[in-house]
Symmetry: C2
Subunit: 353 residues, 2 copies
């Protein structure tokens, strides 16, 4: 992803292996959008902690970080006695570092195959795993940009950028690809309470100079009803066989309103998001997250300009914090995938092959 | 309104005249929901400043405070030379203290009629003006409670409580009236970004012990689609002749989704909100407010437990902050007014009399 660091442009993924210094490095997402900081993990144990403390976020990026972390452990322990015991322990610690089990496990298992081969091979496999994720984003960008035309107003929700998908992103990828082709448009970025991932989306769009405006989540109805939204593109956490999508809370609201005003509504996602074993969205249990995410808001102190958290509700206020909602397939115009823009009928066919 | 102060129950309006100490007193809304503080204004000038600094909020409550402020000025200057000049100046300062001109002017003009009569008469008229506002809320409560049944889940948006309407409130009034009748239900309170007026609604419901849960604005679609909302009641900033309502941003979103899922959707408001001279909502200009309301969030510091503001976006982030949206009459099930629950056809008839 393009980054502007001290006025200079650099190109970095969300996480990578620094082969000279032999360490995992990543963009510290806990500092964003206020500060761009590179976090270095010189041992696999540091990498476990980076995942635990949410310095890296987004299931695919976490998977890639875990893959690098295991390759790092293989390098650390290769010449030691009890190598296998130590590497197995590293595998377990990485697997338990966050509850996004599918991506984490996939990354670890990809590297595990080489733990009896060589330390270098482990690094190569981790890099390959991360590269494959980022290439999915690149393809999504190439596919999705066909929907974007000059002067459009496009609305997006949550954060679906390079930070989450190693590079390129999902829903953000078509925007970047189109902008780099010289098409000029405008993006409305939903704030996305409670965690305000719109801050990250705004930050990433800023790196590319993409014209955008942050809005509170509840302003979308006004914009759609007054003809100010031509297209909605957002991501997905999970897509079921029939085309229902589980995505960040608020997606359902946007889909119903877009449907009411006949505004095209697309979900963009990499292959790993499609879950052929779940038939419909009704089978999905909505994750209820800690209400601290609603209570506490992180920002910059006006006096010290350092990052602090404030409590925005009285203690004992009862809150409900569903992390995502399910949007039925009939409210979607289509799916932006690495295999093209698909209809819900296409999905099962393309992904059963 | 019922208030729990140091564990004891007291009954206070949002603003009142303390006849013993001859001062205007009000509940300081800038301290809420974290602290209940009574603010005393010993001169009309203090009352002007209380309005300016938003210690009192909500157009009807501001109108009542201005009425008290003018009565206070009449008392201050009655025996002085240049009485009329001084009282005229007080009128002007109160009128300019906030841009909610209609309610402010109505309150001032009501008291102005007595500025040549007597200081006591001015106070009586200010009290009468404030009482009339609060009685509208009481009637709305009596009317609206017929919609509420045992075990219902009711969703509300923004703050429409006693603090804004001197006493009793508008959309909140049916909830209180029904709860005091012994009906037991549950309320979902929208956070209502950017200004988080849901904090005040939650605080007021807490005073009455009404069971409620705060949600982020974008969680409403999930709740409605999963059958967890039986009724929506919210307020209105302005109702046009055909029944369109301008109300806090996000109202339109709720109306479209409620319509999609056939959930009853009502707006509650006092008489002064109905604007017979505006034919439809398309004639209403949407007020765009300072984006600082999005950037800056007030809360309690986790370390000092004092109220501070944090910046939640990078400087120069472009935001758009429409204060309200317009919901077309066809998306409303009805209107809860002091004259009964009306249909859009009823509105013009009742209010043209």
């Amino acid at each position: 992803m393009k980054l502007i660091v001290n006025g200079e442009e650099v190109d970095l993924p969300a996480v990578w292996w620094n082969s000279e210094q032999k360490m995992v490095q990543l963009i510290d997402q806990t500092k964003l959008p206020f500060q761009i900081a590179i976090h270095s993990c010189s041992t696999y144990h540091h990498t476990v902690n980076a995942i635990k403390s949410m310095k890296i976020r987004g299931a695919p990026s976490i998977g890639a970080t875990a893959a690098y972390g295991l390759a790092q452990a293989i390098n650390e322990f290769w010449d030691e006695p009890e190598y296998l015991t130590k590497v197995s322990s590293a595998y377990d610690q990485l697997l338990l570092s966050r509850p996004t089990a599918v991506d984490l496990k996939r990354g670890l298992d990809h590297v595990k195959k080489s733990w009896a081969v060589s330390p270098d091979e482990a690094i190569v496999q981790a890099q390959k795993f991360a590269h494959n994720i980022s290439m999915q984003g690149k393809k999504i960008g190439e596919v999705g940009k066909s929907l974007i035309r000059e002067n459009m107003n496009i609305l997006t929700h949550c954060h679906t950028g390079a930070l989450a998908l190693v590079d390129h992103g999902s829903a953000i990828a078509p925007l970047i690809a189109s902008w780099e082709d010289g098409v000029r448009f405008h993006v409305y970025v939903d704030e996305t309470r409670p965690r305000m991932q719109g801050r990250l989306t705004s930050w990433e769009l800023t790196q590319y100079g993409i014209d955008h405006t942050v809005i509170c989540d509840s302003a979308s109805g006004h914009l759609m009803s007054s003809g100010k939204v031509d297209l909605i593109i957002l991501g997905a956490d999970r897509v079921t066989k029939n085309g229902d999508i589980a995505n960040k809370i608020g997606t359902h609201n946007l889909a119903v309103i877009a449907n009411h005003y006949s505004i095209p509504f697309y979900s963009a996602f990499p292959d790993t998001t499609f879950d052929i074993n779940t038939l419909t969205g009704t089978e999905i249990t909505i994750e209820e997250r800690n209400t601290q995410e609603i209570y506490e808001i992180r920002g910059l102190s006006k006096t010290t300009r350092t990052q602090i958290s404030v409590s925005v509700y009285q203690e004992n206020t009862h809150c409900y914090n569903p992390a995502f909602d399910v949007t039925p397939a009939e409210l979607l115009s289509g799916y932006i995938t690495p295999h093209g823009i698909l209809s819900k009928e296409d999905l099962g066919r393309v992904y059963s092959n």
